[in-house]
Symmetry: C2
Subunit: 520 residues, 2 copies
């Protein structure tokens, strides 16, 4: 692929390629402008005749299972990221592929982590052509260094489901780690030494892949219930010694920030939500598992208790903090796509109001509605926000790709999106003239909360009206930018070579931005 | 349609039509001979843009919802049967269609009941062309009287999923009654005045229909959890006063037979299972909710307790008897497709080992395996069994269609299928020379238990060997037939006109038999 041909300006004013890895892509058309046509991907009709009558699909090894699935050059291999930094399966797949001299694979993880750094050698030796999925840390850095053979494709969690469902990306083999499974292929994340709570990111994979392999280190007799993975979609089951490193799956170290600045940002965020009438009886919210987000949740919790309000639901990733709200009734339901600590895993297992909700239901944009739009308050992070409220969540200001999109783009569709961020990190301003990479258009980002003030998107006249007369330090976003520049100086622009190394998809499958190779 | 053209002899020696309701059909090819080709039905890709951002899909009435779905001539309308004899929704749909002067609809229920007798007038006046689904009682009788305009299509529960999934039948509008639902369309059968436990028969409908309407009499704020119906597939939600008559949904009157003959049959069945080594520690079984089946279960229960064995799972329809086994640990899991009494509904709500399992997982033949083949013992009923062990479960010996197939064909794929039946009913022998309607080939039916003896299928030499020397009255099936004929006389054959009024599908979508019009 010629990486720097076929560039067009999309509706967000970003230069993006129209041919990526040999496939035609649609440039971003504007929010709500692209309408899908056609039908969902239709898998082949299987028959019970091709599967063991007694339901036992166990084979001796992952190698054997991959062979039986017909692993060959150019295939797309998918995995989920529920084992996070403790995942032992993804690296193993490509080690096997490498040994089998298979080339030009596409890896489609629901996310990748620093533990996947060994994948770099398979990218270098041609086993893997490119990755479609988030690239945290080393793999991201590898990408923006221009070393990946094919072009990286970044999607949100919801966008990944959309792309698989719509047939934009076709999975040849899905390899799904399951903390507990039975020989039929039913699996869940609730039990076993590698318990991770839920497995909702694997839904698109097993529904739409040609072949599905379940890998477990806790094989129990049929039936493994509840079946977060449904064996009726599974071809082979493999028992291995260990699918993950428990201490890195659920670290139990997800903690509220202790930084006084971050705590202040969190408190201001909660206060803003209260004054703007967003935080109220029956409301719903989502916050990530970062230290500041957890602190916001903690302030929400205090306010809910004090006011004797109940939030109707909050959306996970779940932590012990969220679980404590469920326990004391401050929150009625946790809808959960992933569990971040052991208390959350236990809660999913035991509390019927802590519900397993795949990203399909929460985030898929090509669905008959989804949950994102129903959520009153969403608390998100960002690496950069620009003066037009555009957000970047994947690259740093030096152009390096270091983070995945996660559910970030999907959550922007909430009723109110609030981004609490420090004004600068390591003396690099967070509020900038123009984001390095556009992940979310400014019209969907409502409020920025920093330690030196709160900026409300001018489009949200309702929020501006509601907080008129507030003691909160509400300022123009440009003023916040200038305050940061007074302290840190004007940030320098990243130096790019004119070579596309990746694209960022929008929730509807269009291309919202490109990632560029960094100058050596 | 000319109903008596295009007849061919299928692999079971039955005369079946190759064109039915204008569609080409494949005659039964023999067990395990037909292999599907092609891909699953692919629904249109929807977009969140077409649905309310706040998730509220409520519309004023069922009439309004049907109008918004574009109800028009020739459409296929599907419903589920979880409200059984208490269903108030199906009749209402066709009343609306009739008022709207819509013609030639196809009704695709997962089952119909005597309460649907009012549908007859819509069949008579052309609102409905024909029914694809079981027809218990009045509708069945109407069918074999030759009065249905189109040709009836009977499928098993698993076959219905297969047909929808494979695109053999395309649902224009699915109308799904939900005892509890939220405005987004999430629904379940666990709560509310019309609670019926589970809603698993609706899965194929909402996954594959063009349009989906959820009708509820218990609308709660989002999120309705667990989501046995997923709102992401739902177009409209309608609140009505009453979706069902609770006393007829879960009657609580499902009782063990008191007939001494039936009890003896049940006891012999249990004893046979014990002696043949089928009933054992870790085994699995399924029995229906008929009085004899419940009695068999009760004997199983006693044996399990006495031997201190645990069955690994039993498959529902569930009743208080099955629940009592789960409670005392005689059974580890109930996998459930429908609840027959209030105790079962409560158990599904409260016991995590009482699991909601849609027929897709249990019975779909065009799946990567299903549960039927994993089940050690299945206890089924039959209207007739012939000397070649072929079974009929839909028509009586006079040719009248009076029963649905239910999961009967699907269950035949278990490791051992046992049919406990009286030798005669109302002086009509049950064991006959040739079944009136072939629903299941004899090679899949292993044992017949009657009050006068047990017949083992000669193919099952293993069972014959295991029960050699048993005190059980094991006899040749022909001997049993003759004993019945000594008492009742030779039964007369039904008198048919050479006109096909319905077809019976096999689990793989082929046509195993035809239903014929009865002579006036």
């Amino acid at each position: 692929m010629n990486k720097y041909d076929n560039l067009v300006m999309n509706a967000a004013g970003r230069l993006v390629p129209t041919i990526v890895n040999g496939h035609e892509e649609i440039p971003f058309q504007g929010i709500g402008k692209h309408r899908p046509s056609g039908r969902k991907h239709a898998p082949f009709i299987p028959t019970v005749l091709d599967y063991p009558a007694d339901g036992n699909k166990e084979v001796a090894s992952l190698e054997e299972a991959l062979r039986l699935c017909g692993l060959r050059d150019g295939m797309t291999i998918s995995t989920h990221h529920h084992l996070r930094e403790g995942d032992l399966i993804a690296n193993r797949i490509f080690e096997i592929a490498d040994r089998s001299k298979v080339k030009d694979l596409v890896w489609l993880p629901s996310a990748s982590f620093p533990c996947h750094e060994p994948i770099i050698k398979y990218l270098e030796n041609g086993t893997i052509d490119h990755i479609e999925g988030s690239m945290n840390g080393p793999l991201g850095n590898f990408t923006t260094s221009g070393k990946m053979k094919g072009c990286a494709v970044l999607r949100s969690h919801g966008g990944r489901f959309q792309a698989i469902q719509d047939g934009e990306v076709h999975i040849d083999i899905a390899i799904l780690a399951a903390p507990t499974a039975d020989p039929f292929g039913n699996g869940n994340g609730l039990y076993g030494p590698s318990a991770c709570g839920v497995l909702g990111y694997s839904l698109a994979d097993y529904m739409y892949a040609d072949r599905v392999i379940v890998v477990t280190d806790n094989l129990i007799p049929f039936p493994c219930m509840p079946m977060q993975i449904q064996g009726n979609y599974v071809d082979f089951v493999v028992k291995v010694d260990k699918i993950g490193l428990p201490e890195k799956i659920v670290s139990g170290t997800t903690q509220i920030t202790r930084s006084p600045d971050r705590l202040m940002i969190a408190e201001m965020t909660a206060q803003f939500c209260l004054e703007a009438g967003l935080l109220k009886d029956g409301c719903s919210f989502q916050a990530g598992a970062g230290g500041t987000s957890l602190a916001v949740e903690d302030y929400f919790h205090k306010i809910l208790l004090e006011k004797k309000w109940k939030a109707r639901f909050c959306f996970g990733g779940s932590t012990e903090y969220m679980v404590s709200m469920l326990k004391d009734g401050s929150v009625e339901y946790i809808l959960d796509a992933q569990a971040f600590d052991l208390e959350a895993v236990r809660s999913i297992r035991e509390n019927p109001n802590h519900c397993d909700v795949p990203v399909f239901n929460a985030y898929n944009f090509h669905s008959k509605g989804n949950y994102a739009g129903m959520t009153d308050i969403v608390i998100l992070g960002a690496t950069e926000i620009d003066v037009n409220f555009n957000g970047n969540v994947v690259t740093h200001s030096d152009g390096r790709l270091l983070h995945g999109i996660g559910g970030w783009q999907n959550c922007l569709h909430s009723k109110c999106t609030i981004i609490p961020v420090p004004l600068f990190r390591d003396r690099i301003p967070v509020i900038v003239d123009e984001v390095t990479t556009l992940c979310g258009p400014g019209s969907l980002i409502d409020v920025i909360v920093t330690e030196r003030g709160i900026a409300i998107n001018p489009l949200r006249t309702d929020l501006i009206d509601k907080t008129k007369g507030s003691k909160l330090p509400i300022k123009d976003i440009r003023q916040l930018k200038e305050e940061a520049e007074v302290i840190c100086g004007k940030p320098s622009k990243p130096k790019f070579v004119k070579e596309v190394v990746g694209i960022v998809k929008w929730v509807d499958g269009t291309v919202i931005d490109a990632l560029w190779k960094i100058e050596d």
